[in-house]
Symmetry: C2
Subunit: 471 residues, 2 copies
């Protein structure tokens, strides 16, 4: 493709992109397709001859788009959002054009220095201590694995990196509500799932710090070496808030690495009135949150903060001859700050988003989203046919329909969810709380307004009514 | 930003992007800046108030662009390219607009099914056995770590995932020329660097399979459990080709996982005349290459092929309640096929690139690049002042200036490189071969033509002349 064809096609795409933003709200959030529906429309082999871009773009519209789940829709209330903003999309356009590979300073000096500065901005925006140093990673799974590995090396004086494991057994702690990626990280790091202690939670689904303390003490007595406690500000199921301050205290006492996983809720710390959630975070060792979840920045973009970046770098550093440069002593070579060697120019989109919205603009959106969570929680509490299943500190609401026989509730709630999701008017997901099937709506989409939440609630009530007559 | 502002700014950006593609060749490849030059132009704190997009875009041009290393320039001959094509940039525009998070089928059915099909296309394009199943990952570092972890779990019957390491010691093998990410992966997986055997290479910098066999046998006799051999099709320094077939044979004999790292050179297997490099790859267990290096697809995009995807999935799978769907039995949930949970819609750019270029178009480019490598190798061999330092099977040429006193050659070659890189007319990097400072040029840039290589060679000769007078 020559440059003038690129110019022509890129302008066409921009109009399609803007139209998509305009119309996405009216599209079915979940596509009405079965497994295999897309696959069977695709040729078995790659084309030998070049095809025209018009043909490719037509297939994108005709074949791919009908099988897209619209994360961009304000009616997407499933999981946590992978939200974004138009400024972030504009940044991605430039990032892909430059194609910078930001493994070391020399391969993209602007990227390295912008990353350093933007992470300072974010640290300040969230009210984190300036003892933290930030680095951008791809996902919270990877950042948490980085934390666990650094903790592993620090506690063993870097001996596992050098010699591997011996008979010494290590333990890792998190609440039973922690994200699944933590157990995955525990396995990858070689500790073994049986050394992963899932500490019980209280009635708010937050970690019981007294049980944590007891478990650690028992483990130490039994000859285990505790390596890391992973606490959550905002668990995945219910956005429960672990008692960070108490956990930091326990960790300090036993010299255990305390990693705070605020993957989703971290963004909410831009609001001073929500900083109570993070009390004690400045006594932790590391903190992660995803601007790609709730800070309006395209996936992927994870912000990882660490108190001891030297330990992080020492865990990962390897400098072969072909990567040495004359400025290695003066600059940050972020290659050594995480697992993959290659790195995209992610700082650019954070810079665009923060400037285009301003801190005030981000705060305003987050405040609105939290208010919508509180609003729905109140409707649920006030409604005789529904039950709130967990506190709503932020914008994720867990509840269920209850006006039917108890032994049918799981099935009925699942049916309600499936009926609505199939309609394409709304998409939300489930969780299991106290072994009960629970409806779960998260309000973090960039384009979300009050009427979307009202519509969702009306739809849920409407569909539920049928089951009430059944009961 | 509302949609009409987005439309306006995105059109402005497209013109800037097209202009950039037109002019990039004339820009200094490496920016002429010092550490801190960009940082000092950035405000210490995030702006409270929203800023206009015009102001942001102006700063992008005035502050960021002067500190960019132009990976897009055809005069970029450093490292391996992170090359791309205009079709790939167009795909990235759509990817960022959809913002699909492709962790499971339900969250983006088209992405999951397109990924499955495109990986079949690529398997066929490279002539790999249909016993391989493909999955897209972010980087080769991560894919190789995935291979190592799967090997670890398979050889221990998944007991390290469950119970962690015990006193059993495991060994991992690669040549002394293997990429640094391998040692990093060995450490992350908990084996310890001292259990990583760097097997000597022959005069072509390829692994000595006889020494590999001996080392493995000695390790087994000494009570170690060999887990994995990582061979290279195209090492990082010189694109040396390990004897894959012999290594596969040794691995089969001892039931060791054989992972083939073809991160850069894998793309060259689109050429039947180069498939000799991969003889024996169908007897290996896994294979990785980066379309983001030489298949004209924006970073990041890694193609990982594995014979036993069930073992891969069993290594990583964790299905919490909030990720269960009703179609889990029927579909591929790629979340379980690698380390990060979240995944971008990378299949789209592969699909765009392969269709827009056609297999023939990709073959043509690769053939041209390989011919340019051979051409420069010949010039070097024919020139009395230069010495070829390694065979050139592909398009990476390692050589040095030799017309001076032997004890000054390292310094002189480094000076030649620094002088040229500083000029902005060309950017290449060094490696160390047989402990000698070596100039290394790689010709994989999408826009590379013969005259760029001729210019580079002329420039190197011209700058070297001064040192000849010195000698």
């Amino acid at each position: 493709m020559n440059t003038s064809d690129f110019r022509k096609h890129a302008h066409e795409l921009v109009d399609w992109m803007a139209d998509y933003f305009e119309n996405v709200e009216d599209l079915p959030v979940l596509p009405d397709i079965k497994p295999g529906d897309i696959l069977k429309q695709l040729p078995n082999s790659a084309p030998e001859k070049a095809e025209s871009f018009d043909a490719i773009f037509k297939d994108f519209k005709d074949v791919i788009m009908p099988g897209i789940t619209h994360w961009e829709s304000p009616n997407f209330m499933a999981y946590f959002p992978a939200n974004k903003s138009k400024a972030s999309v504009l940044a991605e356009m430039l990032m892909s054009t430059l194609g910078s590979q930001c493994m070391i300073w020399l391969t993209s000096p602007s990227a390295a220095e912008l990353e350093e500065q933007v992470m300072i901005w974010i640290r300040e925006m969230l009210g984190l201590s300036d003892e933290y140093t930030g680095v951008i990673q791809d996902t919270a799974s990877t950042a948490t694995l980085s934390a666990l590995l650094t903790a592993r090396e620090k506690v063993t004086n870097f001996s596992i990196n050098k010699e591997g494991f011996n008979e010494q057994k290590f333990t890792v702690y998190a609440s039973s509500e922690i994200h699944s990626s933590i157990e995955k990280a525990v396995k990858i790091a070689g500790f073994g799932a049986s050394q992963f202690r899932q500490v019980s939670v209280d009635e708010n689904f937050a970690m019981r710090s007294d049980i944590l303390a007891e478990t650690i003490e028992k483990d130490i007595a039994d000859g285990f070496t505790p390596v890391c406690v992973i606490s959550a500000i905002g668990t995945t199921s219910t956005t429960a808030i672990d008692p960070i301050s108490k956990i930091s205290e326990i960790c300090k006492k036993h010299k255990i690495w305390h990693h705070v996983d605020a993957a989703y809720a971290g963004t909410a710390l831009v609001l001073p009135e929500l900083r109570w959630m993070a009390e004690g975070v400045d006594d932790a060792d590391s903190f992660v949150f995803n601007p790609h979840k709730w800070m309006f920045t395209n996936f992927d973009c994870t912000a990882y903060f660490v108190k001891d970046p030297v330990a992080l770098v020492n865990t990962f550093t390897i400098t072969p001859d072909y990567l040495k440069t004359s400025v290695d002593e003066e600059v940050k070579n972020y290659r050594d700050w995480g697992i993959p060697l290659g790195r995209r120019f992610r700082a650019l989109k954070l810079w665009f988003v923060i400037r285009e919205m301003g801190v005030e603009g981000i705060q305003k959106k987050i405040r609105e989203h939290v208010a919508l969570g509180k609003w729905l929680a109140k409707q649920v509490i006030d409604h005789p046919d529904f039950e709130l299943m967990a506190p709503v500190p932020l914008n994720t609401v867990c509840f269920r329909f209850t006006s039917a026989k108890e032994d049918r509730l799981d099935d009925i709630n699942e049916q309600i969810m499936n009926t609505i999701n199939k309609s394409g008017r709304l998409f939300f997901t489930q969780t299991k709380l106290l072994d009960q099937f629970t409806l779960r709506l998260a309000f973090g989409n960039t384009n979300l307004e009050a009427y979307h939440v009202e519509n969702a609630w009306n739809l849920i009530q409407e569909v539920s009514k049928i089951h009430k007559q059944d009961a």
